[in-house]
């Protein structure tokens, strides 16, 4: 009996695996990558499906920029994704990975900007932060009286008398977030340099790299709290601690203006206008990358991108801006559309 059942089972299993591989061709667009870009991609995908009923609504995975690009660069073919959403530009090493596995025609498309904002609970006093304040409140080592020493500051007004006398409790994105990188580069590092700690660290014998790493090291005594979840977790933390300050995406803030009060940075209050003209300093461009080898094979792929780039989507009156995207300028949008029409692909240097 046992001699008979075993081969039968093997055949059954084999049948399950072998039949599908050959028969099924994909008829929907498959997208992966950044969870920051996901809400925008969702709006475009859904509207695309409504306006072009002949195409299926694209499937959009959420897993983060890094894993999305890795999946994107796995190769060309039906069972690889067509588009990778990214909240940062693709790295040289990632493009190399793409080229190595035969994904040679990659086109970069910039869709707009995402502001990164500080916010407190609604009803709290006005905040005006500088990178130096943030560095001095949250770094593990700071410069006090010309000496680099461990950070013992307890309250915000000890950092800057114009800030409220609140215990420091900052909810910052965890290390796997793309936002964290922007936070470290634009705030911690700049604040470190502005406060003179960077030079002091270098005087103490560190190289440029080691000093930068020391600048962006966050204090570990529980005053700076890493949030590994998403902005809704940060919001819940602020609801529990009324004197906390959190970091959010501008879009998330736009959807929760009745609960959050936004803080100015360097005297600039983040608005769509100040983010797009660069006066508000903490923002980042959002992208997606598309595999040109899939054009003409996956139905609707080019139409989807055309639709995404049209002003009815990423224009200043479009639904993406309504949700919280910071639109690029008219000229930049036009240039992006022209670049797509021309079909410029990325190259390795």
């Amino acid at each position: 009996m046992s001699r008979m059942t075993c081969p039968v089972g093997v055949y059954l299993l084999g049948a399950v695996f072998i039949i599908p591989g050959a028969v099924f061709a994909r008829d929907h667009i498959q997208i992966g990558g950044s969870s920051t870009v996901l809400p925008y991609a969702k709006i475009v995908a859904e509207t695309f499906g409504e306006i072009y009923p002949e195409y299926k609504i694209p499937v959009i995975e959420s897993g983060g920029t890094g894993s999305g690009i890795r999946e994107f660069c796995r190769g060309v073919g039906d069972n690889t994704i067509d588009i990778a959403n990214a909240s940062r530009p693709m790295k040289q090493s990632e493009l190399q990975l793409c080229f190595d596995s035969g994904v040679k025609n990659v086109e970069e498309i910039r869709i707009g900007y995402d502001g990164i904002v500080f916010a407190t609970s609604i009803g709290s006093p006005d905040w005006n932060l500088t990178p130096q304040d943030i560095y001095r409140a949250l770094a593990i080592k700071v410069i006090i009286d010309g000496k680099v020493q461990p950070n013992w500051v307890r309250k915000w007004n000890e950092v800057n008398p114009s800030l409220p006398a609140w215990d420091i409790a900052a909810y910052i994105p965890g290390e796997k977030h793309g936002t964290r990188e922007v936070f470290e580069e634009k705030l911690m590092l700049n604040g470190c340099k502005a406060s003179g700690a960077f030079d002091a660290l270098k005087v103490s014998g560190m190289g440029d790299k080691a000093a930068s790493a020391a600048c962006i090291a966050i204090r570990k005594d529980g005053k700076a709290i890493d949030i590994d979840g998403d902005y809704s977790e940060t919001l819940a933390r602020l609801a529990a601690n009324r004197t906390g300050i959190g970091i959010f995406g501008f879009a998330f803030y736009e959807n929760n203006t009745d609960l959050l009060k936004i803080a100015a940075v360097n005297n600039v209050v983040p608005t769509e206008e100040t983010i797009v003209n660069g006066k508000y300093m903490i923002s980042r461009p959002l992208f997606f990358y598309v595999k040109k080898a899939h054009f003409g094979i996956i139905p609707g792929l080019e139409e989807y991108i055309d639709f995404f780039l049209s002003d009815q989507m990423i224009g200043p009156d479009g639904p993406l801006v309504e949700y919280g995207l910071v639109a690029t300028s008219e000229a930049e949008r036009e240039a992006q559309r022209a670049a797509f029409k021309e079909g410029k692909t990325m190259t390795l240097p």
Binding site: K42, E254, N255
Partner: protein, 433 residues
């Protein structure tokens, strides 16, 4: 004499620590009671927080109003007979806007007001009206009573989830819209109704038209695939190991490996699924077939272990008696051992199915943690699962997704409860002689 008086004074009792032992038992019972109370307290807190946030998701604000399906808006050039495309691209939302602004008596040149009226109802009306008109073009030019979903922000405001105490510019619902809500509610055209959409809609970027439809179908496909694969394979493996295989180093090794696999973090199975089913066999990403296969691999060790212990619990006298009366080994197995072991096998299977129903981690790598807006027709189509939908909604920025997240958790809990009750009932039924 002194001896006698001594024995007189001390009665003949042995000190066996009775009081101390009673005390110890009381203490032990108190510990048990405290443990149970703590458990119940936390369970109660969990359920309370889920239900208090989530019950409102089962109601959705709708607006019923007479809508004139104006031919001048839908098909101004009267070309629909030659070119049905006109009916697809027509501007349907404006019909609802006109109907609503007429009801609220807003002047046609009040553009700010009209824009706010536009934000009162879901932009999902485009699809709803299009389907209505496309299915029955005779309706064009008539006035129909249509029920449309209110926009998510309006719905949240009606449910009191938006802080109306903050200045108007700080919130998504304006004072004028609040006034309209009261006006419409007063004459009964704006009301809360049971949210069937929560069960029928697929994922959407608009909270009011997003539901668990695609996730429910995906979860059902996966559970069926897991059942079809892991039950026969698991039971067959367990029977072979328990009843046929000789005890030697090789079977010991297998046993250790099975026990190890049962404890492996579930994401590892996701990695395996990506490497084997998608990269090697070329199955499509995000398909519930791949999800089912991965979850089947994940539940297999648990089913083998529970089946083996159920088989082991069958007294060996039953086996001996059957064999002694001349039954063959396979007759002994199928007619005597398996029926007795069935309740244990079933319980184990249903509990591991329930665990598979609640998994997200292994689905992440095979692309099932995704926005899927089309219904999956076959297990080869992209789909999500219930816990994935909960995870996706939990990270949304809009207020209306907060209640939907808890609502979806309630639905998932119901499913799990039904499965576990089924396990108990089946077990009782099988245990009756």
């Amino acid at each position: 004499m002194s001896l006698l008086s001594e024995s007189h004074m001390k009665p003949l009792t042995r000190n066996i620590g009775l009081k101390r032992r009673y005390r110890a038992e009381k203490r032990f019972r108190a510990y048990g009671l405290i443990a149970i109370c703590t458990g119940i307290f936390f369970l109660g807190a969990l359920l309370w927080s889920i239900f208090s946030h989530g019950y409102s998701a089962f109601w959705q604000t709708s607006i019923t109003l007479p809508v004139r399906l104006d031919a001048a808006v839908i098909d101004p050039q009267n070309r629909r007979d030659k070119n049905p495309q006109v009916l697809i691209t027509a501007n349907y939302p404006i019909l609802i806007r006109n109907a609503l602004s007429e009801k609220l008596s807003i002047a046609p040149d009040d553009h700010v007001g009209l824009r706010q009226v536009n934000r009162m109802f879901s932009s999902g009306v485009r699809v709803q009206l299009r389907k209505m008109v496309f299915d029955n073009p005779q309706l064009i030019g008539t006035t129909q009573t249509v029920t449309v979903l209110a926009a998510a922000d309006i719905d949240s405001a009606v449910k009191g989830q938006i802080n109306l105490a903050v200045p108007e510019t700080k919130r998504k619902v304006s004072d004028r819209q609040v006034e309209w809500i009261h006006e419409l509610a007063a004459d009964g055209s704006l009301y809360k109704a049971f949210n069937t959409g929560l069960f029928t809609f697929a994922a959407s970027s608009r909270p009011e038209t997003s539901g668990l439809g695609a996730a429910l179908i995906g979860s059902i496909y996966m559970i069926l695939i897991v059942l079809a694969l892991s039950l026969p394979i698991g039971v067959a493996a367990a029977i072979y190991l328990e009843e046929y295989a000789r005890k030697n180093r090789f079977t010991d090794l297998i046993e250790i490996n099975i026990n190890n696999l049962a404890a492996v973090p579930s994401i590892v199975f996701g990695l395996l699924g990506l490497a084997i089913f998608i990269n090697f066999f070329g199955l499509p990403r995000s398909a519930s077939l791949v999800g089912g296969l991965v979850l089947a691999l994940m539940t297999l060790p648990t089913i083998i272990i529970t089946t083996r212990s159920a088989l082991r619990a069958v007294p060996s006298s039953i086996r001996s008696a059957a064999l002694g009366l001349g039954a063959s080994k396979i007759q002994m197995l199928f007619q005597h051992v398996l029926p007795l072991a069935a309740p244990g096998i079933l319980t184990g299977t249903i509990i591991s199915l329930a665990r598979a129903l609640g998994e997200t981690a292994p689905l992440l790598l095979i692309g099932m943690v995704a926005f899927v807006a089309n219904y999956p027709r076959t297990p080869m189509d992209p789909a999500t699962a219930l816990p994935v939908q909960i995870y996706m909604w939990a990270s949304e920025a809009e207020r209306a997704f907060v209640e939907r997240t808890s609502g979806a958790i309630i639905v998932l809990l119901m499913f799990l409860a039904v499965m576990n009750i089924a396990a108990v009932l089946l077990r009782r039924r099988f245990e009756q002689p």
